[in-house]
């Protein structure tokens, strides 16, 4: 009995917070746009009977997505931005995690605190702060102009560069923490052994440290990649109008076109694209747990 309850809890959670919303969104994606509140037909009512209700649903909106190249271009561009920013976050995050794991143990709680500290401020305010830093008259340009490194202000805000900076900055802790957790558990004597056996420090790092922190790298990368793919706030605040991301396309379908059915279809396809990395991530987590047991 207790076991059944324990198993039921996560499934109820999944049902209430994933499956039910998904079915609603999927149903809207099969409806037609209409001037009504809410703006689609048929709405959620069974007065006419379930068959009449179902007969009004069709896949027209999905066909529409294939007819206009905007959508796959946006998916592709989002994928590109998500992949690049994941790689960048890894390049920035790994050395930080490595440094933290190598720091004297009395420092580690403080360093950990410093990584988590930004979460105490609202995410939105931190992204706004970057607008102040990156703008033409912002701190960065003022500083670079001041020390004479550049003579014209760099145009960073409202470009893809600013989006990358924003994503890397925002998701950095999600990369650092799992890698740190992996490196922290790493047995130092393995490195010593590698060096005793003639490895240089660099090759010991490459042949021992990196493979042993692989799970941390994979976990961190997924934690960055998955939210970055559907990111809306960062590109709309820091990006320029040329920054094409599926989150923005979705927003436009929803708000500018008032076309909830097409917006829902875009969301369902985005979810399908994300299912692959999410399943891979789950597998990795499971493998890791098995390995630990």
């Amino acid at each position: 009995m207790r076991r059944a309850v324990l198993i039921a809890v996560p499934y109820l959670w999944l049902l209430a917070l994933f499956l039910v919303p998904f079915v609603i969104v999927f149903k809207i994606s099969l409806s037609d746009v209409a001037l009504a509140r809410p703006p689609y037909l048929p709405q959620f009512s069974w007065d006419e009977g379930i068959l009449a209700f179902l007969s009004e649903l069709d896949f027209e909106n999905y066909i529409f997505l294939t007819e206009d190249d905007l959508y796959w271009k946006a998916y592709l561009s989002s994928l590109k931005i998500a992949v690049f920013s994941t790689v960048l976050t890894l390049l920035v995050g790994y050395p930080i995690a490595y440094g933290m794991a190598r720091a004297p143990s009395e420092w580690r709680p403080t360093l950990m605190m410093l990584v988590i500290l930004p979460f105490w401020t609202s995410f939105l305010i931190r992204v706004y702060a970057w607008m102040g830093i990156l703008s033409n008259e912002g701190f960065l340009n003022q500083f670079l102009l001041g020390i004479g490194l550049i003579s014209e202000p760099l145009i960073i805000l409202n470009t893809n560069t600013a989006v990358y900076i924003g994503i890397v900055y925002t998701y950095l802790p999600f990369m650092i923490l799992p890698i740190y957790a992996a490196l922290d558990r790493l047995d130092g004597s393995l490195i010593e052994a590698a060096e005793d056996l003639g490895c240089s420090r660099l090759s010991a790092f490459w042949l021992v440290t990196i493979p042993l922190s692989k799970n941390g790298i994979i976990a961190g990368s997924f934690l960055v990649f998955i939210p970055a793919l559907g990111e809306f706030v960062i590109p709309s605040l820091l990006g320029g109008s040329g920054t094409l991301m599926i989150g923005k396309v979705l927003w436009e379908e929803f708000f500018s076109n008032r076309d909830w059915p097409v917006a829902s279809a875009v969301a369902v396809v985005l979810l399908l694209i994300l299912v692959i990395p999410i399943v891979l991530f789950q597998r990795n987590q499971e493998k890791q747990q098995e390995a630990e047991q």
Binding site: R37, D69, S135, E137, G240, R258
Partner: protein, 361 residues
Amino acid sequence: MTLRTMTLTAIVALSSAAAGAEEVRVYNWSDYIDEELLSKFEEETGIKLIYDVFDSNEVLETKMLAGGSGYDVVVPTGTFLQRQIQAGAFQKLDPAMLPNAKNLWDVIESRTAQYDPDNAYSINYMWGSTGLGVNVGKVREVLGEDAPLNSMDLIFKPENMEKLAACGVHFLDAPTELIPAVLQYIGEDPDSHDKDVIAKTEPILMGVRPYIQKFHSSEYINALANGDICVAVGWSGDVLQARDRAAEAENGVEIEYHAFAEGSLMWFDQMAIPVDAPNPAAAHKFLDFIMDAQNMAAASNYVYYANGNEASQQFLEEDVIGDTAIYPDEETMSNLYTTTPYPAKTQRVVTRLWTKIKSGT
């Protein structure tokens, strides 16, 4: 006994708190009111005012169409109001609760009636035009002394925009305002709903697209005031607010607003009460408070937009009522045009075109 007394006291305290905390929730455009009016309303009526802001009609419309927004008063622009009325999003106003409606200006009411027949669902809050905000010094520096500061040539001619790109140009992220402007520029009917006519705007916008730094509907106020950009296609009062912020900051930035010499879009922001407003009685009180001549004048004096309240004009400051950028003279007035809402199919064409222009795909 003590426990029972305590429970009773708690219940009484709770219910009286609930009764005393009458609330009205207002959803208005950003930078669109003198905030002292908000506390004045609370003092006069004893109703707690919760004031939220938005910067695009699309965001408001989605909330209205979704229903259950929880707002008692919202402020859509005329064209959007018209469609939302058709969708059944608003309730009719009760004239008996709005004695100050006598202050309204018939000139404006006759124009807003095209969106809201008989003005049954809404009252005019502010109106204005869509035109050019320019940083005079910078634009003259780039284009020379005879730069066309009040002409669409400034923003639709690639040779001008190419030079202006260096100092920064923002466009409103509002296709329903920019597409009509381009149509006006090329001599078509700005209110055309014909797809083929609308398509004619694409080459013009694409030609200047590389030189536009951002499409956004509220950032330009600060960007103009700080000198981050030198030209913005924006709303009259917002540009004038930027002018004032720059003057206050004494940063040497001089901003001017110009309606397009070729003709500008005239729009009306209307206050209305959602059909599912939690507190329609308080909403009416808020509308009546806003229609008070002195209050409306205070709002206009603060935000530099003209209002639809004739009685308020005697309380307007000279730099508001006397500024033709705010209260246009006869000639500019005759040069202003209005638009009607796009049907769904046309809206999709317009949005798609706009996305294409913004993102290049």
